[in-house]
Symmetry: C2
């Protein structure tokens, strides 16, 4: 296929945000004597992400980093779940849970194999500092960190995919987008990128999500190890 670089969606595709937010929420709850449905909390916090991004994309909000959008949404979610009494620095620290997400078990060994054959990069709406802190902690061996923050557009804006290829010095067809989310892959394909779908059934274990393989994607893979095998890495 002539693919030279793989660019990865991160939240949900590489890392398991849900389990980590639940785990840190439970720890916070124990420390502060809070009784909260942390699974519901985690999902509500994540659910606030797309509408917030869309407000930036549509110009309703000036550019805000993902850290800032998470922090803004955290206030709403704390209120909805009746969590009171946290100080500003406690909230700031909890907001950085998104820097501390655990990878899916196949992510690091899969990336190590893929990195030997391809350039591997993030292509995430997460801000650069968040992605770097996450990678250092989790051992994600990125060749480089590409972020919407560097491009000035959020996915799924077409500019993100085209600019990523341009920064790599490659044509769009030499770059493959890897994601667990079909809307991201469809936008990448529209911009001329190759696509690999890696469904993550545990991202939303209690929600009906379309996890079916599709021939319109160049690759459908069970996980990153299967992706490496299919790409000869």
């Amino acid at each position: 296929m002539g693919v030279r670089a793989l660019v990865f969606d991160v939240f949900g595709t590489v890392v398991d945000w849900r389990s980590t937010v639940i785990r840190e929420g439970e720890a916070l709850g124990r420390a502060r004597g809070l009784h909260v449905d942390w699974a519901g909390f985690a999902e509500a916090w994540r659910d606030g992400y797309r509408p917030a991004i869309d407000r930036v994309r549509q110009g309703e909000l000036p550019w805000k980093s993902m850290d800032e959008l998470h922090r803004m949404n955290l206030e709403d979610v704390l209120e909805r779940f009746g969590v009171e009494g946290l100080g500003e620095s406690e909230k700031d620290d909890f907001n950085r849970v998104w820097h501390r997400l655990d990878p899916w078990p196949d992510a690091v060994p899969g990336l190590v194999r893929l990195k030997a054959k391809f350039t591997v990069a993030t292509l995430s709406n997460g801000n650069v500092g968040l992605l770097v802190n996450m990678a250092k902690r989790a051992g994600l061996p990125w060749d480089l960190v590409l972020s919407s923050e560097l491009i000035g557009h959020y996915k799924p804006d077409r500019e993100v995919y085209l600019k990523a290829a341009g920064l790599l010095g490659l044509s769009p067809g030499e770059v493959m987008m890897v994601a667990a989310h079909k809307y991201d892959l469809r936008a990448a394909a529209d911009a001329g990128l190759r696509t690999a779908f890696v469904p993550r059934p545990q991202e939303w274990p209690n929600r009906r999500i379309d996890l079916s393989y599709e021939d319109s994607f160049d690759v459908n893979a069970r996980d990153f190890l299967d992706l490496a095998t299919q790409l000869g890495a």
Copy 2:
């Protein structure tokens, strides 16, 4: 000192551009029967870099990537050294010698040690694709690639240093600039960054360059291994 991240000048500080350009020039010369002073050629090509960057910085030229500036200057240098008969694709390939530069012998082992304690990033005027290709080939273990291309300003513009810290989510004082060139360190210090001077006497072996240690830098180190030792990494 509270340093969290080290950002590195690349050309001359991490990689030995001179030897690599000479070696590839000699190989090209043998293949094409050219008789050229390749050491002089390499130095003349590199000498064209700062004036070209300055033309962009002063708005005389629209933004051009380092690849484009090298390619523009290559035409001049080929003419000055009387090299004729190269095709466009041969010139394009030779221009990418800057993607294939060898690191100084201490660079990779020093970065591996430093990476265990700090975030390590490029902060180079080289374009992203160039820096990624170089790192893949040479085994430079960057956590991320920061480039003037991502910031829209060339060093030593103040914006480059401030924006690098901002992208890392750090204050300028938590970031240390590492370079073999004092002008780069002085500009970084003016922006509030910490500084480490690592002189590279073999960058310009036949030219009088100021290689003396200075107390105004936070660290003066013999090489990256010495830098790691001094920083406790």
